[in-house]
């Protein structure tokens, strides 16, 4: 048993922490307020190899492991969730399907520009009528003269509509009882992208509604075998949960850091509020839960890196960090008093950014269902 991170993981952590502090923190509030996608930051992250951490070098990625990826996402979320989800959705949802299921030709065609971060990719699973029940997908594709003709719609799709978005991989019904994944290139006739959706949090991240009207997609854009779509998206989500869990961990850590610093500065009744036991106990509880959360996230990442089953652990980590981040950010804002309710205080943004961690990539209830299934129930 060894709880030490390697030198490389430590250096990655301090590097991403410094980047988040020096480059993201100064603009996070403004990006959020203006609902502005962080193009410059994405370009800088690409430069550092952080837009394709777990993608092998031969396909233009950094060739890192899942633990590196989790640490990077944790450190980004500590400062800003919008930037973190942009990286996480691009990597786990947008790029991974190509690596996991793409033919060699598809990998060569798409991965270099995605893994390098020059372009972004999205994953379109959710539909107005198919959320938690993602298998209820109604979007359908019909093979006609060597082309898939796609009709249907998707909702809440991250990274689909930025200036650098290259494509979306969608689930579509290709037969009565058959779901397949298709790659749709941005700009394809019949593929329309809504204006950015207005959100409670993650405001600088790109979220869109997609509609497909007789959208023609080359037959070769089928990802993996026809009819494998259901199995494929479950596998994509299993991996994606580790990065969302890392976001929950990072958000909790960021909220705790803010609360700890504030409690030492803020004086009431003639002393820093950190001297009151009620505040100390709140911080002690937060630190305890964060420590437990970190253990779960890193273990899930480690299992995946060992090429061992990790679906149960990633669901546990996702559920736990979703709930811990809620408790921590709530107490952290409480420690800030009225100032925490003001936009100028970062904690108010963290508070708004937290909620979706209990919804996206499987709600808390869905995580419990996944865990229960692993319990044999």
């Amino acid at each position: 048993m060894d709880f030490d991170l390697s030198d490389e993981h430590e250096l990655l952590r301090t590097t991403v922490r410094a980047f988040a502090q020096e480059r993201i923190a100064p603009v996070a509030e403004e990006l959020d307020r203006e609902h502005r996608f962080p193009y410059e930051l994405v370009a800088e992250l690409a430069e550092l190899g952080l837009m394709g951490i777990p993608i092998p070098e031969e396909y233009g990625g950094a060739g890192g492991d899942t633990l590196s990826y989790a640490i990077a996402i944790e450190e980004l979320t500590r400062v800003d969730s919008s930037v973190a989800i942009t990286v996480a959705a691009h990597t786990s949802l947008g790029t991974m399907p190509f690596l996991l299921f793409g033919s060699e030709e598809q990998k060569r065609e798409w991965l270099p520009e995605l893994a390098s971060g020059r372009r972004l990719a999205a994953f379109g699973l959710t539909e107005p009528g198919a959320g938690s029940d993602a298998g209820a997908t109604r979007t359908h594709a019909e093979l006609r003269d060597g082309e898939w003709i796609v009709n249907g719609s998707k909702i809440f799709i991250t990274n689909a509509g930025t200036d650098i978005s290259a494509c979306v991989t969608i689930t579509a019904r290709t037969g009565d009882d058959e779901i397949s994944n298709l790659i749709v290139r941005n700009g394809s006739p019949g593929y329309e992208i809504s204006t950015p959706m207005r959100k409670m949090g993650w405001r600088a991240s790109d979220t869109r509604e997609l509609s497909f009207r007789d959208c023609a997609v080359p037959e070769g854009n089928l990802l993996g075998p026809r009819g494998a779509g259901f199995k494929q998206f479950l596998e994509i989500l299993d991996g994606g949960r580790i990065s969302v869990a890392a976001m929950g961990l990072g958000l909790a850590q960021g909220a705790y850091d803010l609360a700890l610093a504030y409690s030492r500065e803020r004086e009431q009744f003639g002393r820093p509020i950190a001297r009151f036991q009620a505040i100390q106990f709140a911080l002690a509880d937060m630190a305890t839960e964060i420590e437990a959360a970190r253990g779960l996230v890193y273990k899930a990442a480690w299992l995946k890196d060992q090429v061992r089953p990790f679906a149960r652990e990633s669901a546990i980590a996702k559920l736990y960090t979703g709930e811990v981040s809620k408790r921590v950010v709530d107490r952290a804002l409480q420690i800030h008093g009225g100032y925490g309710f003001m936009d100028e205080y970062a904690i108010s943004r963290l508070y708004r950014d937290q909620k979706v961690l209990e919804i996206g990539e499987g709600t808390n209830e869905i995580q419990r269902m996944v865990i229960a299934r692993h319990l044999g129930l």
Binding site: D7, E8, L11, L48, G49, G64
Partner: protein
């Protein structure tokens, strides 16, 4: 083009600096980092290498073994090689002994250009480069705000209080860079993962041909007799921020006809 960069590890800026009352030396036990000024020196070396399209950048450090983390960071950022001089006998080295040790380590590399940070973020001495130049008998330019290489020489814009000096020096020479010279890059993930595979040499004093009397306390010219808090200024007045502080400050200054 061979570029040597002297890099030092210093306590993190956020850490409280403490002098050990027993040894009368700086306590280097806490979190440490690559000296920020030296990150600028390394960045400049990498840019020169990138501009000229050839060359080698070697990072040289004198420090105890745990400081290898900071050298590894230099490798992750882009240095090609690292030379770490570590020896228990070096403990207590002052400027003179440190410069002597670094001079030996740098000389071995036969560099065309030696870059240093303007100062160490811990002691802020801003002297080591001149001691090094003296020992190596090389020209030295400090406070470099920009640096251009030409045939066999270097042209430096030296930042001063009043403007810039334009100084040319023949190669090989020593340049200490200011933090205005560039914006250091972050190590990339590939750089971080590749750092362990780069040559990382650890040398002791004997490897450099340094005798016991040349290094450590024996080789130092500085002796710390005692430590004390700076004397308080007896005539100072403390004005607390109680709402009327600004008026009191104005009153105080007016009384003394200072405004």
């Amino acid at each position: 083009m061979r570029l040597a960069v002297c890099v030092k590890e210093v306590p993190e800026a956020s850490a409280r600096t403490r002098i050990d009352p027993g040894t009368l030396r700086l306590d280097r036990g806490g979190a440490a980092t690559l000296n920020p000024f030296d990150a600028h020196a390394l960045e400049e070396a990498l840019r020169i290498k990138e501009r000229t399209g050839e060359g080698e950048v070697v990072a040289v450090m004198m420090a105890p073994l745990p400081a290898a983390d900071s050298l590894r960071k230099a490798l992750a950022i882009g240095a090609d090689r690292a030379v770490h001089v570590a020896d228990d006998a070096l403990a207590g080295s002052d400027l003179v002994a440190t410069a002597r040790t670094l001079a030996k380590a740098v000389e071995r590399e036969e560099p065309d250009l030696i870059l240093l940070g303007q100062q160490g973020g811990d002691s802020d001495g801003a002297v080591l480069w001149s001691a090094l130049a003296d020992l190596l008998r090389l020209p030295v330019v400090s406070q470099a705000a920009s640096l251009e290489l030409a045939e066999g020489k270097v042209a430096v814009k030296r930042q001063t209080e009043y403007g810039y000096d334009l100084i040319e020096a023949p190669l090989p020479c020593i340049v200490a860079v200011s933090d205005a010279i560039n914006e250091p890059r972050y190590p990339s993930l590939k750089g971080i993962m590749g750092a362990k595979k780069k040559p990382h040499e650890t040398l002791n004093a004997a490897d450099l041909g340094l005798g016991a009397d040349e290094i450590g306390e024996a080789g130092s010219r500085t002796e710390v007799y005692a430590l004390a808090d700076p004397p308080s200024r007896g005539d100072s007045v403390r004005i607390e921020g109680d709402g009327a502080a600004a008026e009191k400050v104005v009153e105080y200054l007016t009384e003394r006809k200072l405004i």
